[in-house]
């Protein structure tokens, strides 16, 4: 689904990206059907159990997928603006780095990296400059939120120097 940034400007052509959305919706419906089939055995007194509503939602998603295919074939989807992949990759990379480094290195270093990589996504590419700023800022945030407001933010080697 994240492949959806292929621009298609010609009208009245099958819209590949929109078809991909339809596939995603149908797949989501499939997962729900598969999961509810396991629950369907549990009947309840009212005839409506834990599987009923998911079944209805999955059916709705299938209908919407069909509708999406219909609109995609007719070229009814709005024209998209051109998307640049580079900046998105920087920010996604930053979020992934934060996710993976949060536990081993602590809040400040992991989030400082996110800060610097996001700034890079928006054009500030001097990482030797932005990473220290990010880490310092996040340390201040950590001291305020974890120290004063007692929010449980993971501490790493850097935080242990101060607290």
């Amino acid at each position: 689904m994240s492949q959806g940034h292929t621009p298609s400007t010609e009208k009245r052509r099958p819209d590949r990206a929109a078809l991909a959305i339809a596939v995603f919706l149908a797949a989501l419906a499939g997962v729900i059907f598969w999961d509810t089939s396991r629950l369907a055995k549990i009947a309840s007194y009212s005839g409506i159990g834990p599987a009923t509503i998911p079944f209805v939602i999955a059916s709705g998603l299938l209908l919407l997928a069909a509708w999406t295919v219909f609109e995609a074939l007719r070229g009814d989807f709005p024209v998209r603006e051109r998307q640049q992949v580079g900046p998105v990759a920087w920010i996604v990379g930053g979020l992934a780095a934060q996710m993976l480094l949060l536990k081993p290195l602590g809040f400040s270093i992991a989030t400082g990296l996110l800060f610097a990589l996001t700034a890079a996504g928006f054009g500030k590419r001097k990482l030797w400059f932005t990473i220290p700023i990010g880490v310092a800022l996040c340390l201040v945030v950590w001291l305020i939120f974890a120290g004063l407001l007692q929010l449980s933010l993971p501490a790493g080697p850097l935080e242990h120097l101060f607290w």
Binding site: S44, A96, L153
Partner: protein, 505 residues
């Protein structure tokens, strides 16, 4: 006790020094974050939720009230001084307000927006206080099937009645529903859609989803547009005070805006936008200076801004009395209540009156504080607007992830944040509205619960849903709200509806 007694007691609670401090922190933070371009009230509330985690419920909700109103004020400053409004409900304000700022009348534009917001907030909050007890009495008569019908109506109006595509609105809503299934079924204790992953048993956090689709989705989308040069911030030249003529042209617009905005917000029909558009259209028709419209007419700022704030107070009517959020902002506020195990609704008025009335009273107090704070501090807000984009969005993502980490410091939760962020980004590219996902996630399980209760009472007979007159009428309106726009769009009359587009926030 009468409403006056309750309100008086509420004011006594809200006027305690600690609570005043919470309200002050709330309005200041709310305005500061709300001013930042690209951040609407929904995101403001979601980003600032972690600040309130460690407070007691009363203090936290009072701070929340401040954040909510502050976020609304901040948004209007942004749309007047910068031509990219941070919230869809102030698009209309930008139409005339930005023109005024360019013509060197930014001061009076900000003043009429601030004073208009104050007047509207005051009247609407009082109206909220007086209407709420009646709606509560009405709500006590409601059974599960009436609640279910009401929620169906809210689903339709939030997702598909406005905006430019029924298909995309409904798709957003159903993605929200699909996410809502995840976790333990409330009635039978069965795990659904959790695939044996313990982290999924608790379901998807509303705040995680909201922060991801709003903050991360928006950041990715803005970044992907590439560098378009800095936005032009209009300087505030001259006096911020309004002339006698400005006053004369504004006050009627404020009152009309309030009268239009509040009922629309109070109906379970989503969105502050509709009220602002209607108010703008009304002012345009009634004005004595039609030539100024499009070039910076002060009525065009005063009316919609009042309508905007009045309907913000209006959305609290269904939220507090019925537990029914009709905007993304209200959905996140509901999540704020739920973190303390409080379920807004008629019962809360009975079991926890101090809390509800303290909240309503602090809305009044927050409103006063904003009036006093805003105009003198306008220079500071302008400075916030000029933060360069790289630092701004880096900071937004820092605080967005901070909230999630503070609530649940797990790698899995951050993974969900990233996944939903990408979801929000892709939805933005293809023009899917964002608010229905959030509303679907929080309201879906409540609707399911009511439906299953109704059917349990009837021993599984679905006709019971239509045999109560109230439920039947509500479902009929919901069906109309779904079908009529569909026909309008098919016949090429969709432009009006897409102008009223539901909140992207």
């Amino acid at each position: 006790m009468t409403t006056f007694d309750f309100l008086f007691q509420g004011i006594l609670i809200a006027a305690q020094p600690m609570n005043l401090l919470y309200a002050l922190i709330g309005v200041t933070l709310g305005t500061a974050v709300g001013v930042l371009p690209g951040i609407g009230p929904a995101l403001t509330v979601a980003l600032l939720l972690p600040v309130t985690y460690k407070l007691d419920p009363g203090g936290s909700l009072i701070m929340f009230a401040g954040i909510y109103y502050g976020g609304m004020y901040g948004g209007s400053t942004t749309s007047i001084l910068l031509n990219t409004p941070g919230e869809s409900s102030s698009i209309v304000t930008a139409l005339e307000g930005n023109k005024m700022a360019r013509a060197g009348r930014g001061g009076p534009a900000l003043a009429t927006a601030a004073i208009g917001s104050f007047v509207a907030g005051l009247i609407a909050t009082l109206a909220l206080a007086f209407i709420a007890p009646f709606v509560v009495k009405l709500a006590l008569v409601f059974g599960p099937r009436e609640y279910f019908a009401l929620m169906v109506l809210a689903f339709v109006t939030v997702s598909s009645a406005f905006g430019d595509s029924t298909l995309r609105g409904l798709t957003s809503l159903f993605i929200g529903f699909a996410l809502a299934i995840i976790g333990i079924d409330q009635l039978t204790g069965q795990a659904r859609m959790s695939f044996g992953i313990p982290d999924l048993l608790d379901g998807v956090e509303v705040t995680t989803l909201a922060v991801a689709v709003f903050a991360i989705g928006e950041s990715l989308y803005i970044a992907a547009q590439g560098d378009q040069g800095p936005d032009k911030v209009e300087a505030v030249k001259g006096s911020v005070w309004m002339t006698a003529q400005d006053w004369g042209r504004s006050w009627k617009a404020w009152l009309r805006g309030t009268a239009i905005g509040f009922p629309i917000g109070a109906m379970p029909a989503g969105g502050a936008e509709i009220g602002t558009f209607l108010s703008y259209a009304t002012e345009k028709r009634l004005t004595k200076h039609p030539e100024e419209f499009g070039n910076g007419a002060i009525e065009g700022v005063a009316g919609p801004e009042a309508a905007n704030n009045a309907s913000a107070a209006g959305t609290l009517v269904p939220l507090l009395t019925l537990g029914l959020p009709t905007t993304a902002t209200a959905a996140i506020m509901l999540a704020g209540f739920q973190q303390y195990g409080l379920q807004p609704g008629p019962l809360l008025f009975a079991t926890n009156p101090q809390l509800v009335w303290g909240l309503i009273a602090s809305l009044l107090i927050a409103n006063f504080m904003l009036l006093v704070l805003n105009l003198p501090l306008v220079g500071l807000w302008v400075k916030l607007l000029t933060i360069p984009k790289p630092w701004l969005y880096a900071g937004i993502l820092l605080f967005a992830t901070l909230g999630t980490i503070g609530a649940n410091p797990s790698v899995f939760e951050l993974g969900m944040l990233l996944a939903f962020g990408l979801l929000g980004y892709v939805m933005r590219i293809f023009g899917y509205p964002i608010a229905p996902v959030v509303v679907g996630l929080i309201l879906g399980p409540l609707a399911e619960q009511q439906l299953r209760r109704a059917l349990a009472i009837s021993q599984g007979d679905p006709s019971v849903l239509f045999t109560s007159p109230v439920a039947a009428v509500l479902l009929f309106i919901a069906a109309l709200a779904l079908i009529v726009p569909l026909i309008l769009r098919a016949r090429g009359r969709g432009q009006v509806l897409s102008q009223l587009a539901a909140s992207e926030d």
